[in-house]
Amino acid sequence: MTDYIKDAILSGILETFEMTLFASLFSYIVGLPLGVILYATSKGRLLENRAVNGIIGFIVNVTRSLPFLILLVLLIPFTRFVVGSSIGTVASIVPLTVGAIPIVARMVESSLSEVNPGIIEAATSMGASPLYTIVHFIIPEATPSLLQGGAINVATVLGYSAMAGVIGGGGLGAIALQYGYYRYQKDVLWTTVALLILMVMLIQEIGIRLSKKTRKT
């Protein structure tokens, strides 16, 4: 492997981290409240609301069932509108975020649903409002599960980020595609694949440890 490619791989690692970090962050900023709304408005929950749950649930299901590669292409005009360009590392953060939001929302919903309904009943009997119950009872109780789900989500975003290489995004995925696939450089291909696997494992490990550390049961 030439020094040139080694440098490219090094900066690819950083770009992948950058994309994963920001896309995960932004997807949680939107996806966490969405997940909370999905949970709270579902049948039998604190703020049961069929219309809200139905509409958000529909949007989430539609975006989640689109293959990410298609979403990437569909979002090109939107990405251009948001960051002024549709290629490069920063530009890939936009579709990655959009693609991850519904996954985050469903993951959050499922974590919150695991909370013992008795705790919610206890909170209500103490005179807590629905919002107070969600913030001070349900979310704290679901924290270990939310963190575990978080690790899965970040790993998914990392996997998706490799796909962004197809439409001119940066990161390890782009390197694997350009050098490994188009130029038949098998060593580059396998190196990037190994790096991606390592990064996913690292994220999983951090997530599991955090989750275990916070779990008091």
Binding site: E121, A122, S125, P140
Partner: protein, 335 residues
Amino acid sequence: MSNVFELTNVYKTYRNDGKEFTALKDVSLEVREGEIFGIIGMSGAGKSTLVRTLNRLEEVTEGTVKFYGKDLAALKARELREVRHSISMIFQGFNLVNQRTVLANVEQPLKIAGVPRKERKEKARQMLEIVGLLEKQDVYPARLSGGQKQRVAIARALAADPKVLLCDEATSALDPKITGEILDLLKKINQERKLTIVIITHEMSVVEKICDRVAIIDDGNLAEVGDVTDVFSNPQSKAAKKLVFPSNPFDPSDEDGQIVRIVFDGTQSNVPFIANLVEKTGLKVNILSANTRSVGGIGYGQMIIELPELARDRQTVIDFFKAGGLSVSEVGRND
């Protein structure tokens, strides 16, 4: 004495997929200030639904539930939350937040009521002191035993200085010894803090041990309500009799045999009336089962006996018991 709760003709009907289920049928009762009021019934009788109408965790379909004269159904969401600070509740499953320390759990109702941090920590520690678990304040609930968890739940329930404490099968998940300790604690709190307590249970022993009055719920109906000593010594309804007297597992030794139940209360429980019967009449009876229970320190007992073969002798035995002030009633097979 004023009434804490007043239920008038309460109905609760659940509708699910077009099917209707009536959990409460025309229940009217009152809970008096300062008493320990028991609500007992088989599982599925509607007692959990009933207790949840008291803090409006369940809305009633018909009828009214009044708390100190205020109709709960008429309250707006904010007013209801305010009222709920005065109506605490503990549960069979304890329902503590596992991700928070014992102290933080006890602080919760105070935090909801907007009590400043320093004050609420102090108050929460006082409450833990009352239940004898102050040294566990920094521990997480998972490290506690069931009895300790329920003590923390009681501390949490007391923190906001409620006027009444609702206990939903609070001791059903605990072993008899721990149940006894929790009941003693509740009794102590009732006496020292003049706290009205409503206890839901399916266990007779709980009602016997600490309740002043009891309501018996059977299939959504209020079968009987009254002082524990009255209801337990002289149950009127079928449901009450079933609870007070365990069913007779025995058949008469032959087809024509006759079985009766005799019931005696504290005033006769030290009289050896079976021995007296044999001595005075020379007739023998077969004791099929017998038990005694203590209600408020007075012994109550019942005995299932098979009478002699001859009708004349049977009457002699019945007359003998009746003369002694015991109540005698005929028991059918598997009654």
